[in-house]
Symmetry: C2
Subunit: 568 residues, 2 copies
């Protein structure tokens, strides 16, 4: 059961990756033969003018301000990493100018990139990173750490008004597994390693990290830790804040390192300060991570519930009861409808399917049907027993088991969705996601509140229907995450402003409704305005003070994670 | 299955508790009829003069320096909590002068208490605590938070050279469960509540926190959080840093509060800064904690292994394999021998027992035998299946299941051991414990190193044999805790100095050997000298800076947790 990465060395050559969109050049959403039918279906759903694809702008259409680094400064930087690992060319600067948020991709495709790093450096190891940070602090150069660059909340962009020059520090040459401890089941790894390369190194030894965020193929270990990332199987393998055992971090004031203790009662857990630091303290260069034995079996199945509420109760029972699932993912009624229709667009109507639908409706499974995908991984007996136990709980809450077909289909396409955004943008359709988490007792109220906020924000500028879909993908005894996907027709020329209004309305609904502004995407720049509602001014004082101890001159990724002091 | 506390209201009347030893007045170690035989056996083991009990000094023998608080200051303090909740009498000051470490109890029984708080206040709620902290900061009064006072590492003692007056803030009037959320399975509780009272409130509702440190009866929720405490069933219920969902903390600069999100990616997890803060940031006044449904069944069993190594491998397999145990506790050969002999002292030699021993020896279970106690809690099916699965793994590693008798015996007496210390001190026998944790790959090396360090330190001053016993009581996929108990004959007049030498040697062996200076007792004052070896100077800078943001005048429990800046 090995994840064979599509390509094992793309991280060396940035040109194999799209500079203006998701993933590798030549990889696209697998529409197959149904492409035309799918666009027709989307056009029917959203209404308005017939959809027409407008190609994005080309690389040469973008002009960037000249690098502000002097020759002397560049010479000093090159002395650390080597001439060939310091770049100031157009491609490298544009590639590293922004991340992969909705607004990033929109601007990369249609214009609006006003700033870019003044240089990009690729250090080889901790010592080079440390030397770079000392040097940049001394020279007054801002440093932005960059792994896969897949941030969807503005994590790798230079601050708008930066007067100091900016160096982007690309970590992806630091890609080696340094040690595997088979007794403690840990690996110590350089953090610039991409997801597929990491699993490629671990799985032949019989282990897995089991961390598969949707960005898996194009994000790095360091990025996962820096934003407290969660993988799709977080129920089974934990999230970055959980599987991080120890970290090594270079800061402008020197090294901060934590140790591989399984547990310690010696004050604050510094791993939980490093995890989620979003490049604002330093660069996490090495990490010791907790491994799991590669599972002998995987079982992913679908269950249909009469409602989102019934499915959510099943998840709550399972997670509070300690049933060792790897994944529980529950779509709400709108998302269930969307995926059903999306999957059927362009296919002949099956009379069997219609009969099944009628039958379901007769049994009370109407418009509110909610699809759950359940996953269990592990030994054969464990997998069989756990799935049986889970299905019993689901059935008790009104679920109808749909078998493995649905689960396998999801599993096969689980990294594909990000590729759908660009062909939609080509056609003037916006698609955005955002997420939160809250206690079980508040889950449905928050779900409804955010749905309404998004719909209302779109209705403010558009007569066309919009799609607002939600799902639970990470669950805990205390509560669960809520992930929203929404699709709308953009008004040409007003795309960014409209997106900002939706994003602001949804974010405000989240924090007003008792959710966290991010369950797993991070704060970075885009979520900062709403963070004040969940953390107090005094908390920020403490966090800023700790930060200033390791980065007194705000060298590291300024403008992210913490509001500036004067805005308390 | 309810834990009925022996007394439900002792926390109001400090006079029902021993001022100079463990637990409640009138409660003693349950020697039963075997007392004389047990002392005879201990005398035989340790050698030397016949044991003779010397009673401790009485309350009146202690003289404390006069309270340095002026009448005006006392009036202001009393205005916050009420006249009747501010104490400066001899009993209250002596009761709150120290905790329950070896040196604390020794000094309380035989003299050597030179300082005590200048007053003791019992605030009723968060607001009163907040007001006290503002006032004390303004008046230059040191504040020491005090819950059960069961710290074994110097957590509640005033700094030796404090020039400012000291107020001990006793939290135990804050003892109410504020809310139980049955959907999210959380409770919000005032933190001065004692263990038994907490379970007494939760269990009738069908829930448990499941946190049973050995100090359970005489420690508080706030204390558990403040030192990152672990309960005996931490495998099943997690430790304080895990079950803490949200905290409310009063600091000299105001309130710091975290929210009840199940998970969040918004930067540092402040719960992990508050947990383990040891009273140095402020007073944790309220906490939202994760509950579990009260288990329908408990199954505790014994397993005998041919060696500590074999038993440790079984624990590692179980915890890395995700088998949902509540507890796995493995004694090393010396502890196994001790408990066997202790349990048999004064009992007639059973011919059956001798035959069993011969049989075991014939099968290779010789002097290295190691006893494991396994616990599973939960529903009937879960308990049966999990225990069966665990026993299979144990047998595969050479374990011989001993059945429930041994488990039930341990369970019944699991809070008794602390009562053994004082009758031993009466007889000039020192008994002390210390603990650490490390990765599995380092466990046996560290175990041996610490054993030798303790033996060598005792041999430096004594010809008598000493007992050094160890066990694993908390385990994780990455590693486990090691807990040492050692017993030695003290040289009259030199008790404290000798203890200091053993403690220093063991602590140095722990940090040199790759262990943390504390898995669950905390740092406080006594472990501070060794903390520098596991955290870097730069980490301390960051932690001190964060601390100074909430407590700029070092009002809160100074001299604990973090080394002073000048000692970097």
């Amino acid at each position: 059961m090995s994840e064979s990465p599509r390509s094992n060395d793309f991280q060396y050559d940035r040109k194999q990756l799209r500079w203006n969109g998701w993933g590798a050049v030549g990889e696209d959403f697998p529409f197959g033969e149904r492409e035309a039918a799918i666009w027709q279906w989307i056009e029917d759903v959203l209404g308005g003018e017939p959809l027409k694809a407008h190609p994005p702008r080309s690389l040469e259409d973008f002009s960037l301000p000249k690098s502000r680094l002097s020759k002397a400064q560049l010479r000093k930087l090159a002395a650390v990493v080597g001439e060939d690992q310091l770049h100031i060319d157009h491609y490298e600067r544009l590639f590293h100018a922004v991340g992969r948020s909705f607004q990033d991709v929109l601007r990369l495709r249609y214009g609006g990139i006003e700033r870019a790093p003044d240089a990009v450096a690729y250090p080889a190891n901790h010592d080079e990173v440390q030397e770079l940070l000392y040097l940049c602090q001394k020279l007054g150069i801002i440093v932005i750490p960059f792994g896969g660059g897949s941030s969807v909340v503005g994590g790798v962009e230079a601050p708008a008004n930066a007067e100091r020059p900016v160096l982007t520090l690309d970590t992806t040459r630091m890609r080696h597994v340094l040690e595997i401890d088979t007794c403690a089941q840990t690996a110590t790894v350089q953090t610039g390693i991409y997801g597929p390369d990491l699993e490629h190194a671990l799985q032949p030894e019989g282990y897995t990290l089991g961390h598969y965020p949707q960005s898996f193929r194009y994000s790095t270990l360091g990025g996962w830790i820096a934003v407290r990332s969660s993988g799709q199987q977080s129920n089974g393998y934990g999230n970055a804040a959980r599987w991080l055992v120890a970290a090594r971090m270079a800061t402008p004031q020197g090294e901060v390192r934590t140790q591989t203790f399984p547990n310690s009662a010696t004050g604050a857990d510094l791993n939980q300060w490093i995890a989620g630091s979003e490049g604002t303290l330093g660069v996490i260069t090495e990490a010791t991570i907790r491994l799991t034995e590669l599972p002998a079996r995987r079982d992913y199945q679908g269950v249909l519930f009469p409602s989102f509420e019934a499915g959510a109760t099943a998840i709550r029972r399972l997670v509070q009861g300690g049933v060792p699932m790897s994944m529980m993912r529950l779509s709400d009624a709108d998302e269930t409808k969307f995926f059903t229709a999306f999957g059927e667009a362009g296919k002949p109507v099956s009379p069997m399917r219609e009969r099944i639908n009628n039958l379901l409706e007769g049994r009370g499974y109407g418009d509110d049907k909610a699809l759950m995908l359940l996953g269990v991984e592990g030994g054969a007996t464990h997998t069989r027993w756990t799935m049986a136990r889970a299905l019993r709980v689901c059935v008790a809450e009104g679920g109808i088991p749909l078998g493995k077909g649905m689960g396998d289909k999801w599993y096969g396409g689980r990294f594909d969705m990000p590729y759908l955004r660009e062909p939609m943008l080509d056609r003037g359709i916006g698609v955005e996601t955002l997420e939160t988490s809250t206690a079980w007792s508040n889950l449905h109220a928050l779900h409804t509140r955010v749905q309404h906020a998004i719909r209302d924000a779109v209705a403010d500028f558009s007569q066309n229907p919009c799609l607002v879909m939600g799902h639970i993908s990470h669950s805990y005894p205390v509560g669960a995450s809520l992930y929203f996907t929404f699709v709308w027709r953009m008004t040409p020329g007003d795309e960014l402003a409209q997106w900002r209004r939706i994003k602001a309305a949804a974010s405000q609904a989240i924090v007003d409704g008792g959710g966290t502004i991010s369950h797993h995407h991070g704060v970075e720049a885009d979520h900062l305005p709403w963070l004040r509602q969940e953390k107090s001014a005094l908390s920020f004082e403490a966090l800023r003070a700790a930060q200033a101890a390791v980065d007194p001159q705000a060298t590291m990724n300024p403008g992210k994670l913490l509001p500036p002091k004067e805005e308390n």
